[in-house]
């Protein structure tokens, strides 16, 4: 479903080049769920952007649905994204001009896979039934996040990318939303790549990897793949 092969990514900064990813290898199969952990600024978001085809690697290969994103032009990458991906952002990014229901069905419609039954089902499961005509700013934070999840799942994407989907929510709500997310991902049959810094959030997922110094490692018992992570990372911004 998603594969990283020796992916390197460096950003130019005023302080000089900053290596964010240094030879990342990753493989995620269909229906599999993977948690990606790491400190702030460890490159988690960059990895996610590469996975979504929002950015391109300097070297190495990112394969999405068996297609190398580097080989595609922008419109093709956008289409690929539209057809295969669901995206859940930390800041929800709902479309303020559309009401709840239209927001939920937006990507499905764009992808031409709008399914009214599934949408209604999602609305109900997300606890948004009855709020169809509301606009995003008229919803609570939890409702907005659930709507964002619903929008990502409405086209039943092959892969759901989620960036701290519960980061903006309080602990109780976060737990509920996470549970719901996993349940619906299973229902939709999607694979899941979720970035989080919380081990508690990562726990229910099939696998968990940690990003340190631009490299991926499996999560050890102690929570650290490599001890001695004291060397401070250069700040990215």
């Amino acid at each position: 479903m998603l594969e990283f092969r020796q992916v390197y990514k460096t950003y130019a900064t005023p302080q000089g080049p900053l290596a964010v990813l240094e030879g990342v290898d990753l493989e995620l199969r269909g229906g599999e769920s993977l948690a990606l952990m790491g400190e702030s600024g460890s490159g988690k978001s960059t990895l996610l952007h590469l996975a979504a085809g929002l950015d391109l690697p300097d070297s190495g290969e990112v394969l999405l649905a068996d297609r190398s994103i580097s080989a595609l032009d922008e419109p093709a990458r956008a289409r690929l994204r539209r057809d295969t991906l669901g995206l859940v952002f930390q800041q929800f990014h709902l479309v303020p001009s559309l009401n709840t229901l239209d927001n939920l069905r937006l990507q499905a419609r764009l992808a031409g896979r709008d399914n009214a039954e599934w949408s209604t089902h999602l609305m109900q499961r997300l606890g948004l039934a009855g709020l169809e005509r509301r606009y995003p700013e008229q919803l609570s934070g939890g409702q907005q996040q659930r709507l964002a999840i619903g929008r990502a799942l409405a086209p039943r994407p092959a892969l759901l990318l989620a960036d701290e989907p519960t980061g903006n929510l309080d602990e109780t709500t976060a737990g509920e939303v996470l549970a719901l997310l996993l349940e619906l991902v299973r229902e939709a049959g999607s694979a899941l790549l979720m970035v989080t810094h919380s081990a508690q959030v990562a726990a229910p997922l099939d696998r968990c990897l940690r990003l340190t110094h631009g490299r991926l490692g499996a999560l050890t018992e102690s929570g650290l793949m490599e001890p001695g992570l004291t060397q401070p990372e250069p700040s990215r911004r």
Binding site: S45, E74, A78, L87, S97, Q138
Partner: protein, 835 residues
């Protein structure tokens, strides 16, 4: 407080674009306003000076037979107790080719009511009356004499072609009109070598009940007063300038709103840090004032520049259209500067009042803001609809009131009506677009991107509404005004074509008239002669059926020859029993025609009988037809030339010469010169007249075009400002869409389509509005200003151009933000999301 102020201003350091936009808006608005005001002020000053110089305020006497009056005539009339004063007028050429008007006056007898008394500077009368005399001259005439302001007083410029070679010593008289030299009649007589001759006699208005034997009395009231006529021209320019100012203030409003919105957090912080709400408003007001002064001063300076560029055209137009002398150089009174500053600052305060109001009511915690805007905008739309309806009702009331006014009245109300029309339409625009978007959104539910685009446009509407309104007003005004000017030109040139049927017009000296007529009549080259005559008369009675109304209206009496060349083309608006019948009765001397102005003013219709007295006789004649008489402000009665000669002993006037097919104009000219010593001045080529007329309109067009193009440019700037102001926010809204898989290319296309579509709608609305505006100008304002209406001409080309302009302007304005989106690295879109 200083720290707080510096903190507030630091925003512009981070966002210099906003500052630039603010200043740009202020600058452009005040430049256009002050530029037009400068032109107006300068022109008005010129009229005031011209009117002060007895050109309009005095009755005048001339000899019936067209011969010049002499000093003996003057003395004879004075000894008979008539309060006449001699005036000698002539022209001399300045070294730079300017024609200077020399006016010789007799200060003792010149009626005191004429403002000439105030035209000179205080000086010794003896110096004015005795050699070497004095030349009174306005400072703006000095360049033509090759003099500087400093060296002028007392100088005696040498002019070629003068008998004495030199002008009497110069005395500066700022209130004199440009290119006019006023001196004692003795000095003028010497300068012009006019001997005993004088140009005319003048008297205080109404001082004489009737013209003395052998003379023609022309009342001041019947002379064209440039002040009155040109007032509408200036009102036109002022309206245009106000429009530009309003449009410019839209920009300011948009920029200010954004600058505040982005500083809300900062303002809250300052409040939390202990700056009082009132103090904060004060600081913002100070910021406004600072910006206002900078913008206004820059604007006024550029306005003066703009005025200097346009001034020669304005001067030329006014000169040829109304015969009003306008200085080509600017003459700005002090209050102009202050006025420009005040208007700009006032406008800025108006535009900024909303911002200050919001700042004053700013909640420290900033709660409940987000939820409110949607319902707030709905409320605003309702308010706009209601206000639009109120303004429309006001306009309707004005229109009804105007319908009751006699023609030539209610010019201001006419402009009020047009303004109401524009304002109501502008106010209705956002609700209308919102409605349209909602409707379309429902129709396009199945097209997610289109639906999104429409919904998104609706979301942008509060921000774009003002700019769209500005665009609508600018487009309509552009279309309306160019339709009017275009229509005016078409009609007038058409009318000229119809009237100037002869190939040449000859104004022979009176004593040679009959000889020349006879000579021409025998000439083979000549197909037909169309002699005219002219006299002044009084309309004393109007009879309809059995009713007789008595009145005493001075009218022009004009005689034409209903020849075969003229008859088919002379336009008639209404006839008693058809064209042929009308001309037959006219030619037989059994009927008169009246012009449209007289018909409208006195409610005359074909079939009515009019009683007419003129020197030498009186007559009662039926009206056979009403004819259009564009450009004339006076009532005129038309008779066949022989009738005018027979009944009223009118002096012979010009002779229209229709050449035979293949006739040689040059040969005719040579013949006239050889036989009668008639030179170029007396013989006018019809093509030359048309060329001059066309030239006048071209210049009018130039000014109108320049001003409306500038207004349109300002509207485009307003749109650009609004778009730039929300560009960042727009990117934030577009980024998720892009992340959701809509290619950037399409996003850009959608953006352009959104704006282009909206502008198209605005342009489409501007078409009927502009046409309505043109109708208002020709049918309401023209009637109020001149007493006659113009036919409404619709120019499809102009309309297409308007639509194209609307879309073009919108796309041009959208291009910059779109390019920015296009150029932005993908990551930046999401990076922004992270901040």
């Amino acid at each position: 407080m200083l720290t707080a102020f510096a903190t507030l201003l630091s925003h512009y350091k981070r966002h210099p674009g906003q500052l630039a936009m603010l200043l740009l808006g202020l600058w452009v608005a005040s430049a256009l306003w002050s530029g037009v005001q400068a032109i107006n002020a300068s022109a008005r000053d010129s009229y005031a000076r011209a009117e002060a110089l007895f050109t309009t305020g005095l009755d005048r006497l001339e000899r019936r037979d067209g011969e010049p009056l002499t000093r003996d005539d003057y003395l004879r009339l004075r000894r008979a107790g008539l309060p006449v004063s001699p005036l000698l007028e002539g022209s001399i050429e300045a070294p730079d080719g300017t024609q200077l008007t020399v006016i010789g006056i007799e200060p003792f007898t010149l009626p005191g009511d004429s403002d000439f008394a105030a035209a000179g500077t205080a000086g010794e009368l003896t110096a004015f009356l005795t050699p070497p005399w004095q030349t009174r001259v306005a400072p703006d005439t000095l360049p033509a004499l090759g003099m500087s302001h400093r060296e002028a007083p007392g100088a005696e410029p040498r002019l070629a072609g003068l008998v004495e070679g030199r002008l009497p010593p110069l005395i500066l008289a700022p209130r004199l009109p440009p290119d006019t030299l006023v001196m004692d009649i003795a000095a003028a007589a010497t300068l012009l070598d006019s001997g005993e001759r004088i140009t005319r006699l003048v008297t205080a208005p109404e001082a004489l009940e009737q013209a003395p034997e052998g003379l023609v009395l022309t009342r001041a009231a019947t002379l064209v007063s440039p002040g009155q006529l040109t007032e509408s021209f200036h009102l036109n320019l002022t309206a245009m300038a106000l429009l530009a100012l309003a449009v410019g203030l839209f920009i300011v409003q948009a920029a200010l709103g954004l600058a505040l919105e982005q500083r809300l957090g900062l303002l809250r912080t300052l409040r939390a840090l202990g700056v009082s709400g009132r103090g904060l408003v004060g600081l913002l007001a100070l910021e406004l004032l600072l910006l206002g002064i900078i913008g206004a001063l820059a604007g006024i300076v550029s306005g003066v520049w703009l005025a200097r560029v346009l001034q020669p055209d304005v001067a030329a137009t006014l000169g040829s259209l109304y015969g009003a002398d306008v200085a080509v150089t600017l003459n700005l009174p002090w209050h102009y500067w202050l006025g420009g500053l005040a208007v700009t600052l006032g406008g800025l305060l108006l535009a900024g009042s909303g911002v200050l109001w919001r700042a004053a009511r700013l909640s420290v915690l900033g709660l409940g803001q987000a939820q409110a805007w949607r319902s707030g905008f709905q409320r605003q739309l309702k308010l706009m609809s209601a206000a639009g309806a109120a303004v429309a009702l006001g306009g309707l009331a004005l229109w009804l009131w105007l319908a009751w006014q006699p023609p030539g009245e209610g010019l201001l109300a006419g402009f009020g009506l047009v303004a109401a029309l524009l304002l109501a339409s502008a106010l209705w625009l956002p609700p209308l677009i919102a409605l349209l978007l909602a409707g379309l959104g429902r129709l396009l539910r199945r097209r997610p991107l289109a639906q999104w685009a429409l919904a998104d446009l609706q979301l942008q509407l509060p921000r774009l509404a003002l700019a769209m309104m500005a665009l609508l007003i600018a487009l309509s005004a552009n279309l309306g005004v160019s339709s009017m000017v275009g229509g005016f030109r078409l009609t007038f040139l058409d009318w000229l074509d119809q009237r100037l049927v002869a190939d040449f017009y000859l104004r022979p000296p009176v004593e040679q008239h009959d000889d020349i007529h006879a000579w021409l009549a025998e000439h083979d080259e000549v197909a037909e002669l169309l002699p005219t005559r002219r006299s002044e008369g009084t309309l004393v009675a109007v009879e309809r059926d059995t009713d007789t109304r008595e009145l005493a209206l001075p009218v022009g009496v004009y005689g034409i020859t209903p020849g075969t060349a003229l008859l088919p083309s002379w336009p008639l608006l209404a006839t008693r029993a058809g064209r042929d019948d009308a001309w037959q009765a006219f030619a037989a001397g059994e009927a008169a025609f009246v012009n449209e102005q007289l018909a409208i003013a006195e409610g005359l219709a074909p079939g009515d009988r009019i009683g007419l007295t003129a020197p030498g006789g009186e007559a009662v004649l039926p009206i056979a037809a009403v004819y259009p008489d564009y450009g004339n402000t006076r009532g005129e009665v038309l008779l066949a030339t022989p009738e005018l000669a027979r009944r009223f002993a009118a002096p012979p006037g010009s002779i229209g010469i229709v050449l035979a097919p293949g006739g040689d104009g040059a040969a005719l000219r040579t013949g006239l010169r050889q036989h009668f010593a008639i030179g170029g001045d007396e013989l006018v080529d019809q093509r030359e007249v048309k060329r001059i007329a066309t030239g006048i309109f071209e210049r009018t067009f130039t000014i109108t075009r320049a001003l409306s193009a500038l207004t349109l440019a300002v509207a485009a700037l307003a749109l650009l400002a609004s778009l730039l102001a929300q560009a960042r926010e727009r990117r934030l809204q577009l980024a998720p869409l892009w992340a959701l898989g809509v290619p950037r290319q399409r996003l850009v296309t959608v953006q352009l389509a959104q704006l282009g579509g909206a502008a198209f709608v605005v342009g489409a609305l501007a078409l009927p509005l502009g046409t309505l505006l043109a109708l208002g100008l020709v049918a309401v304002i023209n009637v109020a200003a001149f007493g006659w209406r113009l036919p409404l001409h619709v120019f499809p080309g102009e309309m297409a151009l308007t639509l194209a302009t609307a879309v073009g302007v919108a796309l041009a304005a959208a291009a910059l933000p779109a390019t920015k989106l296009w150029r932005a690295p993908p990551r930046a879109l999401l990076a922004e999301e992270a901040t």
